[in-house]
């Protein structure tokens, strides 16, 4: 799932993807997504600012993605 400017840059809210078995962490998933086309390269241009959640819980780039049913990427939160 993608939110805010990530969603706009990719022009999609969510997608289902087959992830290669070599991709094990959230950080590796971002690197792999970047190879999927220009819009992904643009969206994940600066992976340091991008936050992630697995199954609606905040995680770091080192988090393992095994067993996740929903992974979300989004910019730093600006609520309130």
């Amino acid at each position: 799932m993608y939110f805010a400017w990530l969603r706009e840059r990719l022009d999609k809210t969510e997608e289902e993807v087959e992830i290669p078995s070599s991709v094990q962490t959230v950080g590796e998933l971002m690197d792999w997504l970047k190879t999927r086309g220009e819009e992904y390269e643009y969206a994940f241009d600066n992976p340091k600012v991008i936050r992630a959640a697995i199954d609606k819980t905040h995680v770091r780039a080192e988090a393992k993605i095994a067993g996740a049913s929903e992974i979300a990427f989004f910019p730093p939160m600006t609520g309130g």
Partner: protein, 152 residues
């Protein structure tokens, strides 16, 4: 009006009704603190016609809920309410409302600040200005990060 502690809504927030619900929650309430975050007509010097708020449904409610639980373990709170609006919000309208009740004022003030600092930095909401370019998303703010860090 709903009796839920945490609510995300597309509709204008009735701060009077929310405040009343917290003040009349019962127990030995001696202090009620409310915070209303209001849409400003001016965002870093630029006039804006409206803000647009996006959230991560499900995660936002769950995250705020667990942060409210954390506040309840830190301070002796008798009632808490958090209402966050999403969608299109015009200047002067309330974006977020937090109310806390306790026997004494220290707990009520601190818990309200704790919840707000969290909402500004860690709850999955994103703001952009309307009318500007698609990429007019508002950047996260270092001052808010520092404010949130003081509770660690």
């Amino acid at each position: 009006m709903s009796g839920e502690t945490v609510r995300i809504t597309l509709n204008p927030i009735d701060t009077d009704a929310e405040t009343r619900a917290v003040s009349q929650a019962g127990g030995n309430i001696g202090a009620v603190v409310t915070f209303s975050g209001i849409c400003r007509a001016d965002e870093k010097g630029d006039k804006i016609s409206a803000l647009f708020l996006e959230h991560y449904p499900g995660m936002a409610e769950q995250e705020i809920g667990s942060h409210v639980e954390e506040a309840k373990t830190r301070w002796p709170l008798l009632a808490v309410r958090v209402v966050h609006r999403v969608g299109r919000i015009e200047p002067g309208e309330v974006i977020v409302f937090v109310a806390t009740a306790s026997a004494h004022r220290e707990a009520a003030f601190q818990a309200a600040e704790f919840i707000m600092d969290y909402l500004k930095t860690s709850a999955p909401f994103w703001k952009r200005t309307e009318g500007g370019s698609k990429e007019a998303w508002i950047d996260a703010n270092e001052k808010d990060d520092r404010a949130a860090a003081r509770w660690k």
